[in-house]
Amino acid sequence: MLEELPNVPANPGRSASLPSAEAALAGAAPTSTVRISRQAEAYYTASQVQLIFWRLRKHRLAMISFFVVVALYLTAIFSEFLSPYDYTARHSQFLYAPPQALQFIHEGEVSLRPFVYGYAMERDPKTLLEMYTRDRTKPYFLTWLPKVEPYKMWGVVELDRRIFGTVEEEGSVFLFGTDSLGRDLLSRILYGTRISLSIGLVGVALSLFLGIMLGGISGFYGGVADVIIQRAIEILRAFPDIPLWMGIAAALPPNWPVIRVYFAISIILALLGWTEVARVVRGKILSLREQDFAMAARLAGVRERRIITHHLLPSFTSHLIVVVTLSIPAMILGETVLSFLGLGLRHPVSSWGVLLQDAQNVRTIASYPWLLIPILFVVLTVLAFNFFGDGLRDAADPYSD
């Protein structure tokens, strides 16, 4: 349905030598009406955030990734509740047990309630090693919210139910198998989500702080400070990151409490990470500083700091968010690598990297390939962040398209 709407503004940047509408705007009242569709109207009157959000919505992959990231962080927050077992609990009868797949058909009958088959021990005739096989006589049915041993979520809230578990008491449900000490891998991975994802945030927060500060100084004040900071950025960028991280991380004393190690690792990661943020900030400030609207503010007498915060900063907030979003996966990867090598986090704090320590050599992987499952989570997380960040960047860039 079309409505009579007042005039929408003409294209900016029209030439001055053909006198036309611009001069008219001063005195003339808008007398002509033009019909445009409601859709076009909404498009012209939306705010910047809305515009970005709209363009983002069109990008389906980015939206899916966004929800994946949210899901991951929710998992991180509620990991205890979502895990079928405590992540440190050792099930000594089930060392290196293979994953139990969800089943729906038992002895020819379809069961709406999923279940898993229990384990039977066998000895492999060739290697004489003990092996677990599926025991089809022992179905363990799963149920939502079973009552379990009380545990503390986040160390404070006492709960006695988990999201899913077996009906039978002696039943076990190791959807991802167990490790060398009989600990449920799924629970450990879910707990690892909390560690791996949060270290990304802390590291990025530090980079952001350093990057904005140094990039801002560099871009806004120029001169000697700029030259020094620029060189520093160049040098740091030239360093191969993993060896440098390894070198510094190896120097952390083994007797440090785990919390300190956690923060030390995130500082180490941020040491090389701030350069990206600083580059973006400096670049943006340099280009914006000379633009007319900044000049106008300065001429109006606005104080410098206010210029930076109120005028320049909002222009590139969107770019900052993009850089941040794209830096998080680098931090997560960095921490994973360090922990995998044994130079990063250690027990009892177990990130995905720590979990992968168990999967260091061919023999172990060949015999117990499910130990590699944490890799899937790493890849999923990094992919999701990358897709989302990419989509965000495309949406925030007003000149693409």
Binding site: F239, L244, A359, I365, V382, N386
Partner: protein, 330 residues
């Protein structure tokens, strides 16, 4: 051009100096000094040196002198090729370094060639067929390459190789060819092992480069000079390669600045996982046992490698882009 070359080389010197300082700082990070660690190691083997020997060692390594003197001693010796002793291996660091560094450089170079030869055509193809099915598939694979950490990819390939192809994936040679003389068979075996680290290390670099190429080419395709060239009567095909691709190559060349460190750093960790006889595994051992002269030397050399590589890429860029040479505005 020459002036630019000289300028860049001169600028590189302070960079290298700072890198050496940082490397030295890394050397001294672990608590205790070199002599203590040495003595501790000797003690662990049941030999406790007497006071005199200890004093001699302290004198030689200058551990009781101010830090900048120690640095000076270290760097002057390093410039002459003496990187100190590895007390774990009881050999001069140079001996440990030699072959391994050469192999690291070799693998890195081959990987970089691989990355560029694969990524650029894919990036161009992707840009030209924007939003087509192939574009999406290739972009997705590219993202995958970026997201799988090097070591994970190495682990996965180890597993696949072992489980399904029944080959020994780790190392550079199969056990039977390890010390054999060079022959066609040995070369083939070598190549069959080499492609694994190249793919593993090159994966993320390739992915990144594909995206850079694609994005830059897309930018250039819309520019006025492309239209103007068409207006001269140039057929599309030829025009594509002579103009937008050529211009888009400039940022691709300068991307070496981040690909090179990524490759060196990736090859370190890949070498550890795949147990290649390059710098990676030794570096890790050194860090774990606090054999710091070895570690320091490796950081110094690896970083210098990337800096020099970056310099080369900058020079290439200057040669390719006249705007930089003449300092003209864009």
């Amino acid at each position: 051009m020459l002036a630019y070359l000289l300028k860049r080389i001169l600028l590189m010197i302070p960079t290298l100096a700072i890198i050496s300082v940082i490397s030295f700082w890394v050397i001294n990070l672990p608590p205790g000094n070199y002599v203590d660690a040495f003595i501790a190691q000797m003690a662990g083997q049941g030999q406790i040196p007497d006071f005199e020997t200890r004093a001699q060692m302290e004198q030689m390594y200058g551990v009781n002198q101010p830090i900048y003197v120690q640095y000076f001693k270290w760097i002057t010796r390093a410039l002459r090729g003496d990187f100190g002793q590895s007390f774990e291996w009881r050999r001069p660091v140079v001996e440990l370094l030699g072959d391994r560094l050469a192999r690291t450089i070799a693998i890195s170079l081959v990987t970089i060639v691989f990355v560029y030869t694969v990524a650029i055509p894919i990036g161009i193809f992707s840009a030209l067929h924007k939003y087509s099915l192939w574009d999406y598939i290739l972009t997705f694979i590219g993202f995958l390459g970026l997201s799988i950490p090097n070591f994970s990819l190495a682990l996965i390939m180890l597993y696949l190789g072992f489980e399904y192809f029944n080959m020994s994936v780790g190392g550079l040679f199969s056990p039977e060819f390890e010390n054999a003389p060079w022959s066609i068979a040995r070369v083939l075996d070598f190549l069959s092992h080499l492609w694994v680290p190249i793919i593993v290390v090159g994966a993320s670099g390739t992915a990144g480069l594909i995206r850079v190429t694609r994005a830059n080419l897309l930018d250039e395709l819309n520019k006025q000079y492309v239209v103007a060239a068409r207006a001269r009567g140039m057929p599309r095909r030829r025009l594509l390669w002579k103009y937008p691709v050529r211009v888009a190559m400039n940022p691709v060349i300068s991307s070496a600045a981040f690909i090179l460190p990524a490759v060196v750093s990736g090859s370190t960790i890949t070498a550890i996982v795949l147990n290649l006889p390059t710098t990676g595994p030794i570096y890790l051992r050194a860090l774990q046992s606090q054999d710091m002269y070895v570690a320091g030397a490796f950081i110094l050399l690896l970083s210098s490698l990337t800096v020099i590589g970056t310099l080369i890429s900058d020079l290439l860029l200057a040669w390719a882009d006249p705007r930089i040479r003449f300092g003209g505005q864009k």
